[in-house]
């Protein structure tokens, strides 16, 4: 077996330039909007609710249908008649269809679809569709939504509470009784989404004669949504084909929520009898695609005088908007295994409420739920340091899971596979020259300047175990005999050698800029002793031809961990076959041979050697030369699955991810008290993601993730007024950071290879998106400490911060 530090690795660990770049740099990428996969395409425009909450009384379609070139209009009434609601991850009776059927519950909810010869025409006709509404009272705040007199969105549910779970690990009550110090804080995390520059796109063709519906879209997985959509459409799963083009223009979790539109456009195709294309526009994206939840959190922390944390209590109100839809309530439970972060306390209570209000719907956004989690936890750690007069680094050190404790089982069921948290924190302290920064701060403060230093630590989970979703369900419900447990995280790869010895690797992934083709070429080149240029990588997902399972897709930082593992195993299977074949040709025992520099050679002494090219030619052209019993063909498929992915147990413990990295960050800022402008002076981030396959690509993920975190911390918010109108439906109002706002980042790595993956790798895709909200908030709190200001609410826009500073200065 090749070890991460073995001599077999020539390409892994190198910043190999990307295979993908030439086509993308020359305008030859193939995104969903670029090349029609079928002829005679019609185009859709979606009619959306202008009301946040309204009963639909009827539709008047006459004028729209009379327009020349309009193929048809489908409404919510058709959706109700021809499809089923999507299954949701909770037991509350929420009927979530792909369009509003009885009531609209947020601004932008689809109510009808117009299909016409061109997009221009479809939009003309959409303006002519008349929908009669009876506006209803609106609620947008998750706590207000739970008050007894709040307007109720779903009458069948009876309240706006979609789900509540109280999870207890250890004995938190005792921890709080025995504490020297108890701290309580309230936090607010904003609703934001990483708004990929390419919007959603769907092309649907329902062939009623064949009974097959083919959908091309920039869907990123998880492919559990495929069977869910098949059920909604009343199709057997082998009659619904999802195809994903080779290029997706960014996603960050957001495009996992394209599935309701897949169902809607499939229905539009079925009912109008034509192939239909829909490309979302930016306004639609900001109104009605997907974002993370806004959350109100109440936190309590119990600690001893020396700073040892005994336990914590989390009370969460996650706002999932008008309907809870799968994979929510992952907003609460996706980090179950890493609820305690990098700290070793054992007692925890989590009271998680998922609330429906008249805002747009939610789902995974980069760092899914972890940005929220660590913003709160790291804020609490700083408050503890302040309370006890300890340095924030020191208070964290006293609570870290120690070196040598790995693999480490958390009280909530997580299994941290590897790491060295104290060493990683030390590296960040050293890189940031922390002591020097503190001296600088003292000088700045003496001069009346607001200079602050923030710390944030995070366990960075990768490869979600599908089993975590069941944490949302009551253990009694899960104990019923008819309940089927859920677990797993698998990926597959096929590697094949052509008659001239060149290699093709086929994946079932949906990359959105992560460079899978490059990474796979590096891995296969190392395994087979080739150069990356010898390897062609195909990663166009197609549910009819690829080997896949419900957890497939490119999300939750999966590829670096589970995807690369499948590739390595497929290559090793093929290598073993080549060795067995060469052994037969040489008439030697296979054990006496090894695979070295692209050839099979005797381990010792001289003797004939066979190159991959030579073996490939013989095996393909002359099957008689194969040993008896060997299957012809030079290809291997491997499906890699984690055995540590188990279903949630009766005590609500679950290993919610499969590999766990670690992040330690330090940031120094200065706040201008007059303008409230925040200037980032230093930003150091140290990551341990196991073996790094391509450092250039890994650092790219860190840069990108950090800017998403910064966007949520300082600029981005899907803001709503009290009537449920979205105030940020353009990029003029929804502020995406530009190059001028992007900080310079100092990056370092610590490498603790995962014992669970063949290459020792882990995921890194979400990275600093989950730490930056915490580190900026802590740095700004530290800067404004002399004014008594603590940041418990994001985004800290200049106007909010300015008001806080003015108020503090007056008192």
């Amino acid at each position: 077996m090749t070890t991460p530090t073995g001599t077999g690795q020539k390409w892994i660990g190198r910043s190999v330039k990307r295979v993908e770049d030439r086509r993308l740099l020359t305008g030859r990428g193939t995104y969903i909007d670029d090349h029609p996969p079928v002829g005679n395409l019609f185009h859709a425009a979606i009619v959306r609710s202008p009301h946040a909450h309204a009963r639909i009384l009827g539709y008047d379609l006459g004028a729209a249908l009379a327009l020349d070139g309009v193929a048809g209009v489908i409404t919510g009434a058709d959706v109700a008649r021809h499809s089923k609601p999507f299954s949701v991850g909770v037991t509350a009776p929420v009927h979530y269809y792909c369009a509003a059927t009885d009531k609209a519950r947020f601004v932008g909810e689809p109510v009808a679809v117009v299909v016409a010869r061109s997009r221009y025409l479809a939009e003309d006709a959409a303006e002519l569709v008349q929908v009669r509404y009876e506006p209803l009272p609106v609620v947008v705040d998750p706590e207000r939504a739970l008050e007894p007199d709040a307007p109720v969105l779903h009458e069948a549910v009876g309240s706006n509470l979609a789900n509540n779970r109280r999870l207890v690990y250890g004995d938190p009550d005792r921890a709080f009784r025995e504490a020297d110090v108890v701290l309580k804080e309230r936090f607010r995390f904003p609703k934001y989404g990483s708004t990929p520059i390419e919007t959603y796109g769907v092309i649907a063709r329902w062939d009623t004669l064949e009974g097959v519906c083919t959908v091309w879209s920039n869907f990123m997985g998880p492919f559990i949504m495929h069977p869910l959509t098949a059920r909604v459409l009343g199709l057997p799963e082998n009659r619904l084909r999802f195809i994903v083009p080779p290029d997706i223009g960014g996603s960050f979790g957001i495009k996992s929520l394209i599935y309701p539109y897949i169902a809607l456009l499939a229905l539009a195709s079925k009912l109008t009898g034509v192939a239909v294309k829909w490309i979302e526009d930016r306004r639609e994206h900001l109104l009605a695609s997907s974002t993370g939840t806004d959350r109100v959190a109440y936190r309590e922390l119990a600690a001893k005088k020396d700073g040892t944390i005994l336990g914590m209590r989390f009370k969460w109100f996650d706002n999932v908007g008008g309907y809870i839809r799968s994979p929510e309530p992952g907003c609460s439970f996706r980090p179950t295994g890493n609820f305690v972060g990098p700290y070793r306390f054992q007692h925890l209570e989590v009271d998680a409420s998922t609330v429906m209000t008249n805002k747009s719907l939610t789902g995974p956004n980069r760092g899914y739920a972890c940005g929220h989690l660590y913003f709160e936890t790291e804020g609490m750690l700083d408050r503890l340091a302040e309370k006890l007069g300890l340095d924030p680094v020191e208070v964290r050190r006293r609570n870290l899971i120690p070196t040598g404790a790995f693999p480490y089982r958390t009280p909530t069921g997580g299994l941290y596979d590897s790491g060295d948290y104290p060493a990683t924190l030390d590296r960040a302290v050293q890189l940031a020259k922390y002591a020097e920064l503190r001296r600088e701060q003292a000088t700045a403060r003496a001069a009346g300047r607001y200079f602050g230093i923030g710390i944030a630590l995070a366990v960075d989970p990768s490869v979600s175990n599908m089993g975590y979703v069941a944490t949302a369900l009551d253990p009694q419900f899960r104990a019923k005999p008819e309940y089927l447990p859920k677990s797993g995280a698998v990926d597959s790869a096929t590697v094949k050698v052509d008659p001239l010895g060149r290699v093709i690797a086929i994946l079932g992934t949906t990359p959105q800029g992560q460079g899978h083709q490059t990474i796979v070429a590096q891995i296969v080149a190392d395994e087979l002793g080739l150069v990356p240029e010898d390897v062609t990588v195909v990663d166009e997902m197609d549910t009819f031809t690829r080997v896949w399972s419900i957890s497939s897709g490119t999300y939750s930082s999966r590829f670096g961990s589970v995807g690369t593992s499948a590739v390595a195993l497929a290559a090793r299977k093929l290598k073993a076959k080549l060795v067995a074949y060469a052994a037969h040709l040489m008439d030697r025992p296979p054990e006496s041979l090894e695979f070295r520099d692209g050839s099979v050679r005797p381990r010792q002494g001289k003797g004939p050697s066979y190159s991959v090219k030579d073996l490939a030619g013989r095996a393909h052209w002359n099957t008689e030369s194969l040993p008896e019993g060997m299957e012809p063909g030079l290809q291997a498929t491997a499906v890699f699955g984690f055995t540590v992915a188990r279903s949630v147990d009766a005590e609500d413990r679950v290993n919610s991810s499969n590999t766990y990295g670690f992040i330690a960050e330090i940031m120094a800022v200065e706040v201008d008290p007059e303008t409230a402008a925040i200037k980032i002076l230093r930003y150091v981030t140290v990551h341990d993601a196991g073996t790094i396959i391509n450092p250039m690509i890994a650092e790219g993920q860190i840069y990108g993730g950090a800017l998403h975190g910064l966007g949520g911390a300082l600029y981005e918010e899907l803001a709503y007024d009290e009537d449920g109108q979205c105030l940020t439906a353009t990029f003029m109002d929804y502020l995406v950071p530009t190059a001028c706002e992007a900080p310079t980042i100092e990056i370092a790595h610590v490498v603790s290879p995962s014992p669970l993956t063949p290459l020792g790798s882990k995921g890194l895709g979400e990275s600093s998106s989950m730490t930056v909200p915490a580190v900026v908030a802590n740095a700004v709190s530290d800067a404004l400490g002399p004014l008594g200001i603590r940041i418990n609410e994001l985004p800290m826009t200049p106007s909010k911060l300015h008001a806080m500073i003015q108020k503090a200065r007056k008192t």
């Binding site: 086509r23 990929p196 520059i197 996603s251 250039m696 995406v736 530009t738 001028c740 992007a742």
Partner: protein
């Protein structure tokens, strides 16, 4: 539907002609009528910059102008950067410095960077950031792009 009008323009050195509605956006005309799908649509309201092209030598948003407004103009799109199968030095620099991930903003980013280097061949880092702030990128955190533009500025032909 309004009567179709003829639009004639020069794109990447080649005379092109198409017939479209007067209301057709230039970016849709480029993509749908001329088959130049390298130019991307990201917001349709002139903020994200993915659709940036050079119009008579200057950077312009092709999503907030009409095709008829470009009648008689000379355009350059991302497809015109590489010559004789060889990447433009700016494209090479983006590849070398990991100035792209998903590639969707990249055509607009390249054209904007070219416009920047033509007007300011030796920009400081701050000027690069200011210059490319006309285009939104959600993947790279911009660092790789800044590095690439800086490197291209130092390469002969980088602002060609």
């Amino acid at each position: 539907m309004a009567d179709l009008v003829t639009v004639r323009l020069k794109v990447n050195g080649v005379e092109r002609e198409g017939r479209c509605e007067p209301r057709k956006l230039l970016v849709d005309f480029l993509r749908e009528d001329l088959g130049l799908t390298g130019t991307h649509v990201g917001c349709e309201h002139g903020i994200c910059g993915a659709c940036t092209i050079l119009l008579d030598g200057q950077a312009a948003r092709s999503c907030i102008m009409l095709a008829v407004q470009a009648d008689g103009a000379e355009l350059m799109t991302v497809e015109g950067l590489a010559q004789d199968g060889k990447l433009h030095p700016l494209q090479e620099a983006f590849r070398e410095h990991h100035g792209l991930q998903c590639g969707f903003c990249t055509p607009g980013m390249l054209m904007t960077s070219l416009d920047l280097l033509r007007t300011n061949p030796t920009p400081t880092d701050e000027e690069i950031r200011e210059g490319i702030s006309a285009v939104l990128c959600r993947c790279t955190g911009y660092q790789g792009i800044v590095n690439a533009v800086r490197a291209a500025a130092r390469t002969p032909g980088g602002s060609r």
